[in-house]
C-alpha cells in the first residue's frame, strides 16, 4: 500500500475528499448490521423487539445468561420458596418467572467448533506444506494438472459432496463424529493450503537449500532447517485462512452432524426462547462466535488478497 507522491497522477485534493466521504459512508453503513448484533446481545428480550428499535437502552447480560442456560417456567410460590439467587443470571431468570434448569448446548457446540477447526487446520497446513514444497521445488510430472485437480476439489458444491460423504460415513461409522468433520474440512482446506503455500515457498530462493545441501544437509534437513523457518509467515497466514473456513462452515456441518459433533454455525440459528427466536441470546452467541474472526481479520489484513485468490495476487 504505497502512497508515493507522483506529481502527474496524484489525485486532486477535492477528488480525495469526495472519495474519502463516499468510502467512509459505505464503511459505516456496512457496519450497521454488525453493530446491531453487538447491541442486541446486550438487550433484554423486551428491549430487543421494541418498536421503534432502541438505540439507547440499559445494557443487560440476560442474552448471555440465556445463551448458556436452559430455563423452565415455574409458579411464583415455587420461586419464592427457593433459596436466594446466587448470581445475576439466577436473578433475572426468576424475575421472568423461570428457573435455570441446566446448561444449554452452546458450550459443547462451541468446543466442537474449536476442536474441529483447529484439528482440520493443523492437518491441512501439515499436508499442504509438504505438497507445496514438493510442487515448488521438484519437477512433478503433470504438475499443472495435479494442481488444477487439487484446486477444483474446492469448487465442488458442498451439498453434492455431502450426499456420498453421508453414505460413506454411515458405512464406516464416521457419521456425526469430530474425526469425520476434521477429515472433511482438511480435504476442503488442503487445496487452499497447497496453493497458498506454494506461492510463499516459491518466493524463498532455492539457492538457500542448495547451499545447505552442498554443506552436507540432506534434502529433508534442508527443508526442515532452512525452508520451514523462512516460510513461517506464510504458514501462519495459511493456517488462519484454513481456520476461518472451518470455523465458518455451515453446509457440511448442518447436513452431516446432528448431535455430538455439531458445530456452532448450525446450532446458533436453533436457539429459541419462549414464543419464538430468543434474539438477544442468538446475538450473544453470534457475538462470541464472530470475535475470533474479527481478531484474525485484523491480523491477516495484509495477506487477505493472497488468501482469497489462492496465492495468485500478491500485492
Amino acid at each position: 500500500m504505497s502512497a508515493a507522491a507522483h506529481s502527474v497522477v496524484e489525485p486532486s485534493t477535492t477528488s480525495k475528499r469526495v472519495a474519502a466521504t463516499l468510502v467512509i459512508v459505505y464503511a459505516v453503513v456496512s457496519m450497521i448490521p454488525l453493530f446491531w448484533i453487538f447491541a442486541t446481545s446486550f438487550k433484554t428480550p423486551p428491549d430487543s423487539i421494541a418498536y421503534p428499535p432502541k438505540i439507547v437502552f440499559t445494557p443487560s447480560i440476560e442474552g448471555y445468561c440465556n445463551l448458556f442456560t436452559t430455563r423452565t417456567r415455574q409458579t411464583a410460590e415455587y420461586i419464592n420458596a427457593l433459596p436466594p439467587a446466587t448470581s445475576f443470571c439466577d436473578e433475572t431468570t426468576r424475575k421472568r418467572n423461570m428457573v435455570i434448569a441446566g446448561p444449554s448446548n452452546f458450550l459443547p457446540r462451541f468446543l466442537n467448533s474449536i476442536v474441529i477447526a483447529f484439528g482440520s487446520t493443523f492437518l491441512a497446513v501439515f499436508l499442504g506444506t509438504l505438497a507445496a514444497y514438493g510442487f515448488s521445488r521438484f519437477k512433478v510430472p503433470l504438475a499443472d494438472d495435479l494442481l488444477f485437480f487439487i484446486l477444483s476439489t474446492r469448487f465442488m458444491p458442498p451439498i453434492a459432496v455431502a450426499i456420498p460423504i453421508y453414505l460413506m460415513y454411515r458405512e464406516i461409522g464416521l457419521s456425526d463424529t469430530a474425526l469425520g468433520m476434521i477429515l472433511l474440512y482438511t480435504a476442503v482446506n488442503v487445496s487452499l493450503a497447497v496453493w497458498l503455500l506454494k506461492g510463499f515457498i516459491d518466493e524463498i530462493p532455492r539457492e538457500y537449500e542448495e547451499a545447505a545441501m552442498i554443506d552436507g544437509y540432506t534434502r529433508l534437513q534442508a527443508f526442515w532447517r532452512v525452508v520451514l523457518p523462512q516460510a513461517t509467515t506464510g504458514i501462519a497466514a495459511t493456517a488462519i485462512f484454513c481456520l476461518i473456513f472451518a470455523w465458518n462452515e455451515y453446509a457440511f456441518a448442518a447436513l452431516l452432524t446432528s448431535g455430538t459433533a455439531q458445530t456452532a454455525p448450525p446450532f446458533i440459528p436453533t436457539i429459541i426462547g419462549e414464543g419464538g427466536q430468543d434474539w438477544p441470546a442468538v446475538a450473544a452467541g453470534t457475538t462470541i462466535f464472530l470475535v475470533p474472526i474479527l481478531v484474525f481479520t485484523i491480523l491477516l489484513r495484509k495477506q487477505l488478497l493472497r488468501g482469497i485468490t489462492f496465492g495468485a495476487v500478491r500485492k
Binding site: P11, K16, A19, A160, I163, P269, F310
Partner: protein
C-alpha cells in the same frame, strides 16, 4: 522484485557457516541435477512422499465419493431405505432432471441470483476500489473495516439478518419505512414473493462486495504509473484515461472476482437456507436448496446424485476458466 514481507533474508542461526557470499557462490556452482545426488532420499522420492498424502486424502474424500455419486446417479437408490433392492435405471434420472420444470425453475432462480449479485457487487466493488485508490488519508484503515463482512460466517450472520428483516421489529424495515414512509408492517422482506429474492441479493451484496473491491483494488494498483504519466503528456482527458487505461488493465482482475463470485453463488446454500429456506413457495429455491430437499428430505438419493453430477460439470467448467484467468493475472 518479490515482496518478502517480514521474512529474514538469510537463515544465520540454524547454520552459521552459511554466509551469504559462500552460499551464493556455491549455489551458482551447483547445477540442479547435482543437488539430487546429495545423500539422503532422492529428490524424486521426497517429491512423492511430500505430495502423495494430499493426493490420497483428496482421492478418499473427494474423488471416491464422486465416483460413488456417478454410480448412484444411474439407480433408484434411496438412502433412507438401505435394505431395498437397488435397480439400475440407466439415464432416466438425468432425463427427468432435464425435463422437470421444478429443476429448471431452480436453475432459473439460481441464474437470477448469480446475475444480480454479480452486477451489484462488481459495480459497487469497483467503484469503492476506484475511490480507495484515490489514496486519501486513512484509506488503509477504512479498507480493513470494509473487508470485515466477507470474513464472517455467511450462515451465522445470514441468520441474524432474519432479525434485521423482521417486518415489525427489524432494523431494516424501520430504516426503509423511515425514509419512504411505507408502514414497517408492510415491508415483508422474507415472506413477500417479489421481495424475498432481493432480500437474499442484499445480504450477499453486503457480504461479498468487499471481496470484489479488494481484487479490483489489486488490479488498479497493478497499473504502472508511467502509463498514466504518458497519457498526461498526451493530454488525454480523465474520462479517456479511465476507458482506455484503467478499465482494460484492471479487467482480468475484475474477471477473476466475477468468476469466483459466480461459482460461489452458483452453489449458494447456507445463506438462502437460513434466510428463506427456499420460500416463500419456491421463489428463492436455488439449485443447492433443491438438491438438499431431494437428497436429505425426500431421500431420492439416485435422483439427487444425478442432479449433483450436473452441477459438478457446470462448476468444473467455470473453475477451468477461473484457473486460466488466475494464471493470467499471476503472470502480471
Amino acid at each position: 522484485m518479490q515482496d518478502l514481507t517480514g521474512r529474514r533474508p538469510v537463515v544465520t542461526d540454524t547454520h552459521p557457516s552459511l554466509l551469504d557470499r559462500t552460499m551464493e557462490a556455491a549455489a551458482r556452482a551447483t547445477p540442479e541435477p547435482l543437488a539430487t545426488t546429495v545423500r539422503g532420499l532422492s529428490d524424486r522420492m521426497v517429491a512423492w512422499i511430500f505430495i502423495a498424502p494430499t493426493i490420497l486424502l483428496l482421492l478418499a474424500i473427494n474423488i471416491f465419493p464422486l465416483i460413488w455419486t456417478i454410480r448412484l446417479s444411474f439407480t433408484n437408490y434411496r438412502a433412507n431405505r438401505p435394505n431395498e433392492a437397488v435397480k439400475d435405471i440407466g439415464l432416466s434420472n438425468y432425463a427427468r432432471i432435464l425435463t422437470d420444470s421444478d429443476t429448471w425453475m431452480a436453475m432459473q432462480t439460481t441464474a437470477h441470483f448469480v446475475l444480480w449479485t454479480i452486477v451489484l457487487q462488481t459495480l459497487i466493488g469497483f467503484t469503492l476500489a476506484y475511490l480507495i485508490d484515490r489514496k486519501f488519508r486513512g484509506h488503509a484503515v477504512w479498507t480493513t473495516i470494509i473487508l470485515v463482512p466477507m470474513m464472517l460466517s455467511p450462515a451465522v450472520v445470514g441468520n441474524f439478518w432474519r432479525f434485521l428483516y423482521e417486518p415489525q421489529i427489524g432494523l431494516f424495515a424501520y430504516i426503509v419505512s423511515f425514509f419512504t414512509g411505507i408502514p414497517p408492517t408492510e415491508i415483508l422482506m422474507l415472506s413477500n414473493v417479489t421481495l424475498a429474492p432481493w432480500a437474499i441479493v442484499i445480504v450477499d451484496t453486503w457480504m461479498w462486495t468487499p471481496y470484489v473491491m479488494l481484487i479490483c483494488l489489486a488490479g488498479l494498483r497493478s497499473i504502472p504509473d508511467y502509463i498514466y504519466e504518458a497519457a498526461e503528456v498526451d493530454r488525454a482527458s480523465n474520462w479517456r484515461q479511465f476507458w482506455s487505461i484503467t478499465l482494460p488493465m484492471a479487467l482480468p482482475f475484475i474477471m477473476l472476482a466475477v468468476l469466483f463470485r459466480g461459482i460461489e453463488n452458483f452453489k449458494m446454500f447456507d445463506m438462502v437456507n437460513l434466510l428463506t429456506g427456499g420460500g416463500p413457495g419456491s421463489t428463492t429455491e436455488v439449485a443447492s436448496i433443491t438438491l438438499k430437499r431431494e437428497a436429505f428430505e425426500k431421500w431420492r438419493t439416485g435422483f439427487s446424485s444425478a442432479f449433483a453430477i450436473i452441477l459438478f460439470v457446470a462448476v468444473f467448467g467455470l473453475a477451468n476458466i477461473y484457473v486460466k484467468v488466475l494464471n493470467r493475472v499471476k503472470s502480471r
